[in-house]
Symmetry: C2
Subunit: 206 residues, 2 copies
């Protein structure tokens, strides 16, 4: 929701002139995402460059957002996409599902570029990081934790470990691969291998 849309729902239902173009809204948000994906970096983003990329006049951007910060906050909000529910049969399969979705969508080109951009600016743009975290990370983390808790209740997961830590044991390796092996694709089957590796442990079982 843009600032303008929020304000349009106010006390003035009578829209009198030419209405704002929804296509322009989309073009601007898409342009920001394309630029971030291209590795442009939050503080190298320019309103001028965004308008250019969107094929839009600068005034059209400033008519909707007061500045770069407000625009970026709204862009973060468009990323919302609550994670699919999980099938709930075996905990192991649910974990594989979660990591497989992370592999295919969460850490695919665009999303991983945005993740990088956000993590690198959390310090200089804490508000922006907060919005990204709340919109993108929180729901997925909650889902993972609920699966783990169910696993603990059913005896499929050790109950003597912190849920936070357990979640990181599963998420971390995928993240590590995506961030440190920057240009390599995340190979098919990685989700299964991580889940089974973490479940069974690195020490041999006799």
């Amino acid at each position: 929701m843009t600032e303008s849309e929020a304000e349009a729902r106010g006390a003035r239902p009578a829209a009198r002139g030419r209405p704002r173009s929804a296509a322009a809204d989309r073009a601007i948000v898409e342009a920001v995402l394309r630029l971030l994906e291209r590795g442009v970096g939050v503080d190298a983003l320019s309103m001028e460059g965004i308008a250019r990329e969107a094929g839009v006049g600068k005034a059209t951007v400033y008519r909707r957002w007061s500045g770069k910060d407000a625009l970026l906050l709204d862009v973060m909000r468009t990323l919302e996409e609550p994670p699919d529910e999980v099938r709930g049969e075996s905990v192991r399969d649910d974990l594989v599902d979660i990591l497989e979705r992370l592999r295919q969508r969460g850490l695919a080109k665009r999303n991983s570029a945005i993740l990088r951009a956000m993590t690198s600016h959390f310090h200089s743009h804490p508000r922006l990081w907060q919005e990204y975290h709340d919109t993108v990370i929180r729901a997925r983390r909650d889902l993972l934790h609920s699966v783990l808790r169910r696993g603990m209740a059913r005896g499929e997961i050790r109950a003597d470990l912190d849920v936070e830590l357990l979640g990181e044991l599963f998420i971390g390796p995928m993240l590590s691969r995506a961030l440190l092996r920057a240009w390599a694709e995340l190979p098919e089957g990685l989700a299964e291998r991580i889940v089974d590796g973490v479940l069974e442990g690195a020490r041999p079982r006799e």
Copy 2:
């Protein structure tokens, strides 16, 4: 090693005028690191700002480096600090050592800020990422892998898993905590908990 020092070892051993100030060298590199640590972001770094932060004239920077790219490459090279050898008693203790050093130094304030900055620009500055990777990441990864291979040979580590993947099982959780839980400190004892968690596995052993 700065470009100037490299070139000074060339065919001209006769240094005739006032020698370059080593203090200025250090001040400039330190300034870059301080700015990165402050969350400034690679493409928001300006030569002008660097000189200002270092308390140095712009010409003093340009006398040493041809531009921002060359300077940043050299800054990456100063990060070299080959990891301490590992005690080599039990594989479990070695793994704890490695992760504990990662917690205390590798992901402490300055170093994690630089890691964030690099991962977010690997796409737009591949040369810079390469240098960072070679200087900072490679040696530590090699050490970790050698420890894991020793563990496999001694039967302390499963031999049916890929060493790459195994390494990520240990590194990933620490990385995940440092990058996604941006402002939280990495708590004491985290290294032990990760290593033991991964070694034993998330599934209960009976």
